[in-house]
Symmetry: C2
Subunit: 252 residues, 2 copies
Amino acid sequence: MTKAFVFDAYGTLFDVQSVADATEAAFPGHGDIITQIWRMKQLEYSWLRSLMGAYEDFWAVTRQSLAYTLGVLGLEASPALIDEIAETYNSLTPYPEAEAALAALSAYPRAILSNGSPAMLDALVGRSPLAPHIGAILSVDAAGAFKPDPRAYALVEARLGVKPADVVFVSANGFDIAGAKRFGFRVARIARVPAAAVRAEIGKAAQAGLLPPATFYKALRTQLEGLGFAPDFEVASLSELARLPGIAPAAH
Amino acid sequence: MTKAFVFDAYGTLFDVQSVADATEAAFPGHGDIITQIWRMKQLEYSWLRSLMGAYEDFWAVTRQSLAYTLGVLGLEASPALIDEIAETYNSLTPYPEAEAALAALSAYPRAILSNGSPAMLDALVGRSPLAPHIGAILSVDAAGAFKPDPRAYALVEARLGVKPADVVFVSANGFDIAGAKRFGFRVARIARVPAAAVRAEIGKAAQAGLLPPATFYKALRTQLEGLGFAPDFEVASLSELARLPGIAPAAH
């Protein structure tokens, strides 16, 4: 029985691609490649730090992955500029349907479980119109491990007192969908980039042997992973969550 | 004091790019993009499975990541074709200098510690001219976790009886270099793709906003990671290992 909705933040409620203006402004002509490599490495570093037992918080990971990205491209940046660009992660644009979709689920407690550090999440959510619709903001920082480590997902029951089977966990990130399902949540996937769209985009580009970085990113990180943990529900946007079977209408 | 050399296999002794002929033969015009996405996902899946506590061996991971890759590209393949292509991982080409470089270190025990399953590694090494120069072949399968999980690296002392500080661990993979250093080995990085070469390759392509998949791969997976664990030595090829400070000449 559904007793709570728990949302991933980056890529699910907030559009990580909205850093593109800042990366392009800082390094004209390099915005797309910075944006894509940065996001790829940001997640890689979160996984590797968890695996190595060398946790640092997501603010450190976000800056370190940006520094890697600029380094590999041969772009010079002061620590102050790195901080300034990284800071855009604290004011990402919410997806257009997010506010109304959260409001439509008001019969339920709605929480965020995110890799972001507490300070990052407080800034991100606090500055956004989503704030009134979110109860608890859970940062994996309290567990000292990033998703999909089960210690991160265990924070939900510890903090909200809701058993995994009574949670609908909502994410657009393939690794997070697999990890949440493995952990025991019911999982709703937001399929923001349809498989057919990725195929069409790659198909055209692959003929020439050349791809825009954003296309490569979409192929690698926006699709359902082949890890054997399929979501319970798949919807095209957050708006459809309120229409899932058995979901109560919004409180008035 | 150096008492043993332990080598990573995939990308360090054996060229993972040598699957390109097989991927191109199976899907003409798509060889490069298959090769790059496959290798990216193969490692991602090894990390994610370790993190989620859902270990399956590297043969499963290799097939699952290949199936993902073909799926995202909209290419159809039977399970038999997937097995056939995946099988190329068991006959990768050794780097040209590998055999002589191992021979030059004959004063030391030389072992492999690899993500590969025991069957994959037996096939790969057994079919190669490197076999006479390798003593122990250690698969992380015995630990049930992939590198850079410390449980994987702990197999070296458990099996060879050599303390981490007395091991020179050799890898070309950034995540592996960081993990091995974090674990306590002395680490030699094989810098197969110089930073300047990646910058030049990307610089040219990024102007047009389009990259060959191999260039994107190089930017993401061939450079030193920004995780704060630097190797003790950095050399351009395996041949230089015998010339590191304090290394004994080859036995005759």
